[in-house]
Symmetry: C2
Amino acid sequence: MSEAALAAPMSSSALPATPSFLPLYQQIKALLMRSLQAGEWRAGEVIPSEVELAARFKVSQGTVRKAIDELATENLLVRRQGKGTFVATHAEEKIQYRFLRLTPDDATSAGMQRRLLDCRRMRAPADVLRALEMKSGEAVVELRRLLLAEGRPVVLDDIWLHGALFKGLSAEKLAGYRGPMYSLFETEFGVRMIRAEEKIRSVAAGADEAALLAVPVGTPLLSVERLSFTYGDKPVELRRGLYNTAHHHYRNVLS
Amino acid sequence: MSEAALAAPMSSSALPATPSFLPLYQQIKALLMRSLQAGEWRAGEVIPSEVELAARFKVSQGTVRKAIDELATENLLVRRQGKGTFVATHAEEKIQYRFLRLTPDDATSAGMQRRLLDCRRMRAPADVLRALEMKSGEAVVELRRLLLAEGRPVVLDDIWLHGALFKGLSAEKLAGYRGPMYSLFETEFGVRMIRAEEKIRSVAAGADEAALLAVPVGTPLLSVERLSFTYGDKPVELRRGLYNTAHHHYRNVLS
DNA sequence: AAGTGGTCTAGACCACCTG
DNA sequence: AGGTGGTCTAGACCACTTA
């Protein structure tokens, strides 16, 4: 297909009209992303091999490879030599709590326990509505939960989920699930969090929060507001966390 | 050089004995990194073209390209189509304050003013010594400064610099310099910060800090401890910042 | 042995920048 | 026009995994 493709990349047959005039590998990347979004392959599954994809898209293996490279560095895919390329998942034992940057000061590290405090369906408050880009009147699922380290509460999370995408989410379902919440979201609702933005500030504990975190009122807490996105940069979760940083810290790497 | 290289990559002539048995492009990458560290090309300068490097190292352009790709994604190099590949610098107008993640809540954004409060040379305190991997008794330069947004103090930084690397750093030199501190470090001392780790917690303002930041004692502040590294993962700067997050927040992106 | 991703090459052409 | 990085191809071989 060389000459045709070079003259007018992605021109006539074989491929749907993506924006075009993008580099070939970008178009392949977009097509792969679309397949991921459409659920053609599920979280944790293998995707077709590079040569197979090259044949499907009628391009060389190197071009497919470059597309997959980018998706891998964006953590949408995971390469495993000799085995294949897999759809990234939050369920991986090793990479659990991918989005939680809180670390114990002395790296005893023993994982955290969860305690669900509240779970209800409701009309979205105005600010949540705006953050999740929802239409006025639409429903959200509201959660409140604690994370505990060695029995002591460290994180208080208030969570709002796009209602339409999380139909049937209940306290029972959450309680009966081992492993990270984002993993449940993948398997039960087919919603995969691929990116998030956090805004962090320092605040004083109010009465409620102080009681739940077992600290005096006015204790300085880390306020972490997280907006999480699925495919297509669609925001689907807003989370307001209060972290007790007496024996933990939020770690970050700059480069 | 094809057959020889394939049989025993980086074998005899032309190339110093790097670890070897690493992929060729990783060896090239290491060599480029060494040249950067040695100061063969300075911050902001062009490095030789891909074809030239390919000739020097006796490998194909594609291999050099892959090495440069990695260095570019690690922000050590910057590619500019048609012009060449450049050594990354903190002086770039656009990418100024690369390591400062503080953002105004309403994106008025006007850059921040600096005010140097203190600058002295001293024996390193124990914790600073340990963080900078220095020998007991070695000297550090200690700085204290404020960052102000629209005239109001927002950040109070205490900074310790590896003394041996920053000989001759003085209050005058700092005061008379426009542009980010890290840029001065590059041009005056040849020390380039390429990576940093931050530990963030929430603390209450003490008496001194409250006065300097013009907030009541006990105000919740963001404590940001940053350890910055040059080439070879050598730590050269420790920084303890206190951020007033009343009208600013620390932003972070997770992926 | 066969299949997968990973490395390396050589050569073509494109897009951008500078003299 | 000539140089630079950017894209794409085709084919060879390596390293790892599974059966």
